[in-house]
C-alpha cells in the first residue's frame, strides 16, 4: 500500500496515497446468501404399497373407490387403475398420502409391460392443447349443446390392455369383483385408526 507520492509539507515529508481511503463504510456486512443444505431425495413410499395392492382412495373425484396399485412413479405418486370396467376408475395418478393400503393383493405379473412403460412416462397424462379457442360469441350463444368430451381412443386402448389380465385374475376369486365395485365409507361406530385393513 505504498502507492502514491511523497510530498514535502514544510519541514516534513508525508506519503499521499494515490487512492484515498473511503470515508464511508456500510454499517452492516453484506449478507451472504444461505447455502441450501437440502437435496431432492427420491420419495420413500410405505412398505404396504406394493404393486398389486388394493387401495382405497381418500381424496379427489374417485374418493372411496377401491382400486389396484400398478406402479410407483417418482415423488410419491402412484399409478392406479380401477379396473375401469369394474368401478369406472381409469388409469390415474394419485398421491400416496391420500390412500389407504389394504392387505389384499392381486397378481399383476401378467400386465402388459410395454403399455405400462408408456403410461408411466411423465407427459402421458398432460392435457392436449385445444386447436380452436372458444370465442366470446360461442360463450354467449344459448341453446347449443357444448361438445361432449371425447376420450382419446389411444387412451381407451391402453386402458384395455392394462386391465385385461387384472380382470382375469380378479374373476378367479369370489366376491373380489364386487368388492372392487363397491365404494368404501365409514359407518356408525367405525374407528378407522383402530381398524385393520
Amino acid at each position: 500500500m505504498s502507492d502514491g507520492q511523497t510530498k514535502q509539507f514544510g519541514k516534513g515529508q508525508r506519503l499521499v496515497p494515490a487512492q484515498k481511503a473511503q470515508k464511508w463504510y456500510p454499517v452492516d456486512d453484506e449478507s451472504q446468501p444461505k447455502k441450501v443444505r437440502k437435496s431432492i431425495r427420491p420419495a420413500k413410499v410405505r412398505e404396504t404399497l406394493q404393486p398389486g395392492t388394493i387401495l382405497i382412495l381418500l381424496a379427489g373425484r374417485f374418493r372411496g373407490k377401491r382400486v389396484v396399485l400398478l406402479k410407483h412413479l417418482d415423488q410419491g405418486v402412484l399409478l392406479v387403475t380401477g379396473p375401469f370396467k369394474i368401478n369406472g376408475v381409469p388409469l390415474r395418478r394419485v398421491n400416496a398420502r391420500y390412500v389407504i393400503a389394504t392387505s389384499k393383493r392381486i397378481d399383476i405379473a401378467g400386465v402388459d409391460a410395454k403399455t405400462l412403460e408408456k403410461v408411466s412416462t411423465p407427459d402421458y397424462f398432460t392435457k392436449e392443447k385445444k386447436a380452436e379457442k372458444k370465442s366470446e360469441e360461442a360463450f354467449f350463444k344459448q341453446g347449443e349443446k357444448p361438445e361432449k368430451k371425447k376420450v382419446a381412443s389411444a387412451r381407451a386402448a391402453d386402458q384395455k390392455a392394462v386391465d385385461q389380465s387384472i380382470l382375469s385374475s380378479v374373476k378367479k376369486e369370489e366376491f373380489l369383483s364386487s368388492y372392487l365395485a363397491t365404494t368404501f365409507s365409514l359407518r356408525n361406530g367405525d374407528k378407522p385408526h383402530e381398524m385393520k385393513w
Binding site: 392387505s103 389384499k104 383402530e194 385393520k196 385393513w197
Partner: protein, 149 residues
C-alpha cells in the same frame, strides 16, 4: 298351607378356588383362581393356565378389578402354591370349560371380528346378506302355506 319349594340361591361367592376374570390392569381378560382372601377388597390370585399367553402370575388383585365366574376349583387348599394350583387347574379342565363358556366365546368372536381386514369385512357383509335372504325366503314360504290352510 300349600307346599312351597325353597331353592337355595346360587350366589357366586368370593371363596378359595373361585375363578375370577381379570378386567383391568396388565392381565385384563385373563382367568385366575382365588388362592387366599387378603381382606374384603383384595384377594391373592394365581392363574397357571396350560396356555403360555394366558398365564397370570400369583399376585394380589383388588376385587374391584375382577368379575366372579361360575367356575370353582373344588377343594383347593387355602394358600396353595402355584404347583398344586396348576395340577388342580389341569385336573378340573378349567381352560376347556372356560373356552366353552358363553362369555369366552363372545369375546373370542369380538376379537376375531376386530382383526378382520377390509376385504374380509366385505365378505362377512355379503355372506350375512345371503344367509338372511335364504332365511326370509323359507319364512315367506311357511307363512304362505300357513295362510292357505
Amino acid at each position: 298351607m300349600a307346599d312351597i319349594d325353597v331353592t337355595l340361591a346360587s350366589w357366586k361367592l368370593v371363596e378359595v378356588g373361585r375363578l375370577v376374570l381379570i378386567r383391568r390392569g396388565p392381565y385384563a381378560g385373563k382367568l385366575a383362581a382365588v388362592v387366599e382372601i387378603v381382606d374384603h377388597r383384595r384377594v391373592l390370585v394365581d392363574g397357571p393356565s396350560g396356555e403360555e399367553q394366558k398365564i397370570v402370575p400369583r399376585h394380589v388383585l383388588p376385587l374391584a378389578h375382577a368379575t366372579l365366574t361360575h367356575f370353582v376349583i373344588p377343594q383347593l387348599p387355602r394358600a396353595a402354591g402355584t404347583g398344586p394350583v396348576k395340577k388342580l387347574w389341569a385336573k378340573n379342565e378349567i381352560d376347556g370349560k372356560w373356552a366353552k363358556s358363553g362369555f369366552a366365546q363372545k369375546t373370542d368372536r369380538a376379537e376375531r371380528r376386530k382383526n378382520l381386514t377390509d376385504f374380509e369385512r366385505f365378505k362377512v357383509l355379503r355372506l350375512r346378506k345371503q344367509a338372511r335372504y335364504e332365511v326370509q325366503k323359507s319364512y315367506a314360504k311357511v307363512k304362505a302355506a300357513a295362510a292357505k290352510s
